[in-house]
Symmetry: C2
Subunit: 764 residues, 2 copies
């Protein structure tokens, strides 16, 4: 079970640094060095490509194609969509006297790659050792613009160290991009423009019919020419390098995907390109740095070691948590309500770019407390895709709205029926997200305008999916798969029943309140959705009579029959058998008391204040030893609860590699892309876990419990117009209201008011 760090990058508080290039780590580095600005993302691949192992990918958020997967039974999807690589705006070739730059084949020295978390840039430099002892220093810089999201920049600098000669440089754009997993290019032949002052391509996906524009202005220091072939346009120049005199090639790219197509998109693209002509790369770089500076001012977490012996580990954690926050903010920052957060963000093909219920259950808190508008937009993504959820419920012979387990565009895209048809948690997670968002932000306008309609349709779905057990006489959900995906087609899953109960009760409560407080809006909604008054009563009745499989001691049975399942001693499973999905016969993982990720504990994490400490403890003590954590989201949930229960050793142990899951490639699959949603849990692990923030009650609550290896932990949260600085120290915690009105909070259960004065609360 022990996961082991694969230490490769240099530790630095603000940078991820690779010194020397190990081809065996090539794909891991590509993932780690990913850049994104929510609208687009790019893996840290070499601009010039080459023969080293690589998964090259420039992605545009929301761009996908479809594939048929064959009809089987009703309610099972017959086609699925998946993110595809879009225009490659980094395409570059460098050649000297017939030798082509290829780091998989050439000799080179002093390789260094740096991701600068304060600047949002990726740079790379090395000295190319060419035949005849000639040495050419090459530096590459790239960034995707956080302020003008359609823009991306590339700079190539060449310096002949010990010779003078002409070097051929070619750089451009290409739609000749292949989805590696499917071994196929999903783009039709693009419209092309290859002029001396600009190059541009516009292509359409094969089946989904989406169009993407990609154009670039290339600034060459000397005269160049334009070349083009069916899928690519490029600028080329033979640059005469004088020894010791660096020259640079700048490329300003525009990638546009806004739902328009044909001439309209083309004209918009060309226009955006013209506009970008007014912003030289250096100016854009300054704006980029300013953006990240402002971001870190309110979103940073800082860690200080308690002593010399922990200094190194804490420095690694410091780097790790910043990397997590940086990647999360790159992936999604509220730029659009058409975007969601893919499990791998925009950093690879794995998981097909799909978003899961992780968004509401794991990522939302980060945004609620750092960028509430982004949290709102994530929920609006669900509102905008409500029509697909209504359609999906119909496919399942149910009413209302069933949200997909995996999606890019709102449609269900998971080809495994056992997940797509049996997991109700995406729907209850959306309802939970609305509840949590409203509770934290107080944004009731959102509730009336969007939330209520989603809640209504989710409640309809749940009430049509629930049924009464003949023996218990109570309602429950039969034939489901809860968050623990190691048990399927189970009855009365504790999580599903509990979340269903809460969702139904909340939906009824919101709609009853709406009828009183927002009469007109309510009537419009009731008319639009053909809502019957009896429905609210039905939801309340089901919520009221929901079966919760809890013993007198407070222990929940995860589902009917769980306690009779044969036991698996998870400590006895050899490490070589992980992940179990790859090493065990598929059916075998489903019939023991081993669980994949928190299920009963998950509901206690989400509705934390609704469960007593004693109930949390007995359930934690029972389920924790049976959990294999085959989901990367699992340890953080356990860490948060362990901290709450005062099990600091376990809390620290589960926190373990949370901040460095990808930096140290703990799961050995970072090559496929970053675990973006797990990254969100690293933040939650600190803020909910060690600072003990709870946001499911009336007021914010804190219960700081700091691991011994830290001397100081500082972070900032936003809350209802306020900015609150929290500084945990060994003996006390300081709360500073950096902005906004006074605020009542609880710390260790005691009531305080945050004002301009620093509040100091001794550690309990």
């Amino acid at each position: 079970m022990a996961k082991v760090a694969d230490v490769y990058f240099r530790v630095d508080p603000w940078k991820i640094i690779e010194e020397g290039f190990d081809p065996g780590h090539a794909r891991v580095s590509e993932s780690v060095f990913s850049l994104a600005n929510e609208t687009m993302g790019v893996r840290g691949s070499f601009d010039e490509g080459g023969s080293a192992d690589s998964l090259r990918g420039c992605y545009v958020n929301g761009v996908y194609d479809n594939e048929p997967i064959g009809r089987s039974y009703r309610g099972i999807i017959d086609h699925s969509h998946f993110m595809i690589p879009a225009a490659d705006w980094l395409t570059t070739g460098i050649e000297l006297d017939g030798e082509k730059l290829d780091l998989g084949a050439c000799r080179f020295r002093d390789f260094r790659r740096e991701l600068d978390l304060r600047a949002g840039t990726l740079s790379r430099s090395f000295v190319w050792q060419i035949s005849g002892g000639r040495e050419l220093r090459l530096s590459f810089l790239r960034f995707v613009d956080m302020t003008r999201r359609e823009r991306a920049y590339q700079r190539i600098t060449l310096e002949a160290l010990n010779f003078s000669a002409a070097v051929c440089v070619e750089t451009g754009l290409s739609f000749d991009v292949v989805h590696e997993g499917r071994g196929k290019r999903f783009w039709g032949e693009p419209r092309r423009e290859a002029r001396d002052d600009r190059i541009a391509l516009q292509a359409r996906t094969l089946l989904s019919g989406q169009e993407v524009f990609c154009g670039a202005l290339v600034t060459l220091p000397q005269q160049g020419e334009t070349v083009s072939d069916p899928y690519s346009v490029r600028r080329r120049a033979s640059l005469y390098l004088e020894k010791g005199r660096p020259v640079s090639v700048d490329k300003r790219a525009v990638i546009l995907f806004d739902g328009s197509e044909g001439d309209t998109l083309w004209e918009r693209g060309i226009s955006a390109l013209r506009e970008s002509a007014g912003t030289p790369l250096d100016e854009a770089l300054r704006a980029q740095q300013a953006h990240w500076e402002e971001f870190w001012r309110t979103s940073d977490i800082t860690l200080e070691p308690s002593g010399k012996q922990t200094a190194q580990a804490v420095a690694a954690e410091q780097q790790g948590i910043r990397f997590c926050i940086f990647q999360l903010a790159q992936t999604y920052n509220g730029g659009s309500m058409r975007h969601n957060i893919g499990a791998k963000g925009l950093t690879g093909e794995a998981y097909n770019g799909h978003a899961f219920w992780d968004t509401e259950s794991c990522c939302l808190p980060f945004y609620l407390f750092t960028a509430p508008q982004a949290a709102r937009n994530l929920l609006l993504f669900r509102y905008n895709t409500l029509p697909m959820a209504l359609e999906r419920a119909k496919m399942l012979d149910c009413k209302g709205a069933c949200y997909p387990i995996a999606t890019l565009n709102g449609q269900e895209a998971c080809p495994l029926w056992q997940h797509a048809s049996l997991q109700l948690q995406p729907s209850t997670a959306v309802a939970y997200g609305i509840w949590h968002y409203t509770r934290v932000t107080g944004d009731e306008a959102f509730l009336w305008q969007y939330g209520a309609e989603m809640l209504l349709q989710i409640a309809r779905f749940l009430s049509s999916r629930a049924a009464r057990g003949q023996r218990t006489g109570k309602y429950g959900f039969f034939g489901v798969m809860g968050p623990d995906e190691f048990h399927m087609m189970v009855d009365n899953n504790a999580y599903t029943n509990y979340m269903g109960k809460r969702t139904l009760a909340y939906a009824a409560e919101v709609l009853r309140r709406m009828r009183t407080e927002q009469r007109t809006a309510y009537e419009a909604l009731a008319k639009k959705t053909d809502l019957q008054e009896t429905e609210l009563s039905l939801w309340e009745q089901i919520a009221d009579q929901m079966y919760l499989p809890q013993g007198e001691d407070g222990l929940f049975e995860q589902h009917d029959g769980f306690f009779n399942l044969p036991h698996t001693d998870i400590q006895s499973i050899p490490v070589s058998e992980f992940p179990l999905y790859d090493h065990w016969s598929y059916d075998r993982i489903y019939r023991t008391d081993m669980i994949k990720q928190p299920d009963v504990l998950m509901m206690m994490y989400l509705y934390n204040s609704s469960f007593s400490g004693a109930v949390k403890r007995i359930n934690y003590d029972f389920y924790q030893p049976r959990t294999i954590h085959e989901s990367s989201l699992s340890p953080a949930i356990h860490s948060v609860l362990a901290a709450e229960l005062g099990k600091m050793d376990e809390a620290v142990s589960f926190f373990g590699y949370a901040t460095r899951l990808d930096l140290d490639n703990y799961n050995r699959n970072t090559r496929e892309g970053l675990h973006i949603t797990s990254i969100a849990m690293a933040w939650a692990n600190i803020v909910y876990g060690f600072a003990g923030l709870r946001s499911d009650g009336e007021n914010l609550r804190f219960a700081p419990r700091m691991p011994g290896r830290w001397r100081r932990l500082r972070f900032t949260i936003r809350y209802r117009g306020r900015v609150i600085g929290v500084e945990m120290q060994a003996e006390r915690t300081l709360f500073r209201l950096e902005k906004g009105d006074a605020l009542p909070v609880q710390v260790y259960g005691g009531n305080y008011t945050l004002t301009e004065e620093t509040l100091s609360v001794p550690v309990m």
Copy 2:
């Protein structure tokens, strides 16, 4: 729920007759008019093809191809095999003055098609009405040879009724055959021979690499020519027809598939073809008739109506049961231990030609009591495919042998993991088959030579798949799908646990006896299989401590949690929603107390004498109203048990359409092929149901209970060298020992001995 007859064929005691051709019934007729001789089968399609709706198929038993189905998880098959149409030996074209015979487009009268159950022939005749008022009578005859299984015959007779003219007739062989469901020809280009005295093709499947030879001798009444194209060879002649003078074209075909290939197969094929030259069609026809006459002498069931008011219905039943027996004997008759019984036999593409556990659980009794050698060969099919079953168990992380849920060649071919991985009943059915075969035949040599090894490996599989429940402390099978396929991934399925218990106990008993009685054989087997003595004890321990979910009242809970499942009133489901697989969301069928087919009742059918009448009654009364019979095997099991419980109305009602399931197209899918394994249950329904035969005790037992609409029911069974005639009458049952030694039997629980004298037992 009511299934309704679609009456189309004329009732006749020994023939299936179609008068007039309804294109809407074309495929149903094709299925019903199927011919086979176990080695090959052919649907009743028109020799000349044409534009009428048709599923044309000439099948060769054991000929299949593979297709990849994509890798998913461990233990899930990544390719599947399926029966494909092989050489079409009926290919025919008839043309007059440029008009081509096509019953989908031409005018014709007096269409009649007849399947003769006593001759094993299919004939068809009609008058083709050609332009200018010309009328040409055409008659077609075909049969597949039951005595020389590689041979098949076709005769085309032409008679110009009111004109004289030349008619072009072309007839030959073709591998240009397409699997309709997959829209693809699975044959490489064949080797061809097109001579005036013989034509031949030999082709190889695309992926499975099987080779089939097909040759023919065509006897033309006048001079002809030979034509050929890449996939076909044909003989063609312009036949001058004199008004009123019929002429015939005979074709004698040889289809050879014996595992050899290349020149070897070709030479064997040509040699078989030469040999067939000595047998004119009429001589082969006489042999065919003689074969069927002998067959009916000992395998017939005759029914006589109790009065005028039941005469018509009973005549239909008489025809129906003979059709069933005929089709079953055509599909399999013990010709080879390489063959099994596909769910659709050799009559269509549906179910891919796969055999299921129906073979042992439903078909075996028919053979045990009519052709014991065939029963033995069916079990030897399992012995021959033991290596694949060992391989399959490994794929599932288990030991021993796991028999496939669907197969042609012994490998698992079911692409649905939930069936392939969770259903243990194929393995327990093989064990049951061995037990039943040995018990009925007394053939212990089989047991020591083959049965013991299969039992050993099955017991190994079961013992590695069983586990101890933490709450019950007893063994059970977790995560299974029992015979009731409307519940999956359940724990402690009553059937699976019970059958597992019996299988483990029986395997241990057989091996312990073998160690004593067959020391040498035992030691050889133990060495071959690396059998440890502790294994037998383990099997006994698991059998002993197997959890059987039975209440004090004797009612079994079908699986853990079944009694709490929400109720579905199956009477309230509209007929339009059947079959549910097509009309309900896939996941929806799995979460109520509705069951697809007998599960608890199935074990009481198989191990009938192990359950008291009271236990059978309480379980029947509970489960029968919850059963939707979406399997065509279901009603017969219920009918047998209802008869035993004295519920004669229900027994008769469930018997209902058993004999005419396909003749009257009750399930509306006979177009896809015949329900061959259900056909076997029609026989069992009468012999086990109404005659009350029980074969799971020491002696044969009978308990005749005749439905009121019959006056007399007669049938014959073979048993340990004896031939026993049974004649049920309203007041008494007569037992005649037609051959063999005296035999103790039980009738209504009373002990009798069958001797030369007719035994008459009054009805109780």
